[in-house]
Amino acid sequence: MTAQPKIKVENLDFYYGETQALFDVSIDIAEKQVTALIGPSGCGKSTFLRMFNRMNDIIAGTRHTGRVMIENMDIYDNGIDVVALRKKVGMVFQKSNPFPKSIYDNVVYGPKIHGVRGKAELDEIVERSLQDAALWDEVKDRLDENAMRLSGGQQQRLCIARALAVEPDILLMDEPASALDPKSTTRVENLIGELKRNYTIVIVTHNMQQAARVSDFTGFFYEGRLVEFDATEVIFTKPKNQQTEDYITGRFG
């Protein structure tokens, strides 16, 4: 692991109203690596992911204790600009959520919000983002078409392109391939391998093979606790914790 973690979480507890969803989670996430968060449904891994771009803020009645640091800044500090944070920390959702606009307008949505106006510049962002999301060749001749008419796999890659268009440092992916067919899944997984050269990626997944294939580090969540966190190779070959072993060998989950 690199000396300086990109994201550092210390003793995080998180609550939905009275219900505690995360218990004393601490983790160091390395820069330009893929970190996978695995665990059964409802274990808190998605909630945890949404801490990094403060998406839990929009849910009423949530609160937390502990610290979430990105590049040594506590992102829950009062002085933090949430808009700037979310520009830096992009997110791809489980259910692909292209906006019901043209492909082009989907990609430029973020840049326009952040003040990019020039047509040439926007064109360039669209091409680069779609290239990076491995979608350009499929859609370059129909950028004006409504994004809702793309296939499921294309929609998800469009959402990735849309996230890349605002040039984030960190990319959060919440089960990005769970609704995709095997072929599209492979494409997205290959894409993740490409993207990690430039981005720090945190991916939540149900699919353990996927975690094993795409990630460098893996954290296993169970009932709101981070049970074990280590290099992916270690987690999948010689986990130290019995629960982790039971989960990855399919004894529960």
């Binding site: 771009n53 998406m55 929009i58 009423a60 808009v83 700037a84 944070l85 979310r86 520009k87 992009g90 997110m91 959702f93 259910k95 959520n97 906006f99 019901p100 949505y109 973020g110 919000i113 952040h114 409504n146 809702m148 959402c159 849309r162 996230a163 605002v166």
Partner: protein, 293 residues
């Protein structure tokens, strides 16, 4: 033993099923019959009175002769005024309630107020308009007072239907936008409102239909018994279709003689409301085809 018992119960259930289905169907059909009868009655008796002269000339002799042009124009002004006031207010409230307000005690109070407002009898709105706009603000009996009164009456309809339209926009669109670093307003303005507007307009237009037809709210605030000229400003009184109908039906000595005029006026009012509602439906269908998720 067991077998006969179950079969008899099955037979009973089946009988009840038939009875219940029949009853529900009969009730539904009877609604159509009632509406159909009313519309048919008005159309059949009103059509003979309906001609170009009727809708394009001024009334004569307290309305017992001549046309209803000032009433049509008056109603058009009132409705336009009501919508200009109520739509921005209603839509803004709906956006606040749906997109900004923290759901809690305060929003519950606002919602309670809206429901109460929706349940207030229209004559009470009329008195409220008389007290506030006509007397307190000194607008007098005028288009302004009448439009404002109607606006408050249709406000709940607009708020509720606008909120519904906003809620129909998938949460994923908001999250997707916020996750890209958009502010809440940018999200609402760029990624929620465009998809909710058709629904919001539809609800507003339904409110318009109601504003056009109400008599009580305009009774004390604007409606003129007999005013055979067109208004010059929003501080003028006007005639209005529903009130004119009321006058024709009850206030003239020879109500029988003007019966065709009553039906003609009713038909014009009905057509006007129908046009508004049709516009709402066409608009909604048009936009629903365009927006898909």
């Amino acid at each position: 033993m067991m077998r006969t018992k179950t079969t008899s119960r099955a037979a009973r259930n089946k009988a009840w099923e038939l009875i219940a289905a029949g009853l529900i169907r009969a009730v539904s059909y009877s609604i159509v019959v009632v509406i159909g009868y009313i519309v048919l009655d008005i159309v059949v008796k009103g059509l003979p009175a309906l001609n170009w002269e009727f809708i394009s000339t001024f009334p004569r002799k307290s309305g017992s002769e001549g046309g209803i042009l000032p009433a049509i124009v008056g109603t058009a002004y009132l409705v336009a005024g009501a919508i200009i006031v109520a739509m921005p207010l209603g839509m803004a409230s709906a956006v606040y309630l749906s997109e900004y307000a923290k759901q809690g005690r305060f929003t519950r109070i606002i919602r309670l107020a809206i429901i109460t407002l929706a349940g207030v009898p229209s004559i009470v709105f009329g008195l409220f308009g008389l007290g506030l706009f006509v007397i307190f603000f000194g607008f007098g009996a005028s288009i302004l007072s009448g439009s404002l009164t109607l606006a408050f009456m249709i406000l709940p309809t607009i708020i509720v239907s606008s909120e519904e339209a906003l809620r129909a926009v998938p949460q994923a669109l908001r999250e997707g936008s916020l996750a890209l670093g958009a502010t809440r307003w940018q999200t609402v303005y760029r990624n929620v409102l465009p998809y909710a507007l058709p629904g919001m307009f539809t609800g507003s237009i339904l409110g318009v239909g109601r504003a056009a037809g109400e008599t009580a709210p305009i009774l004390f605030t604007v409606a003129a018994f007999y005013l055979p000229r067109l208004p010059n400003s929003i501080f003028d009184q006007v005639m209005a279709l529903p009130y004119h109908l009321y006058v024709l039906a009850t206030q003239l000595p020879e109500a029988e003689k003007v019966l065709p005029l009553q039906y003609g006026t009713a038909l014009v009012l009905l057509l006007l409301v129908l046009v508004f509602n049709l516009a709402a439906i066409v608009l909604r269908n048009h936009f629903m085809k365009k927006v898909q998720w």
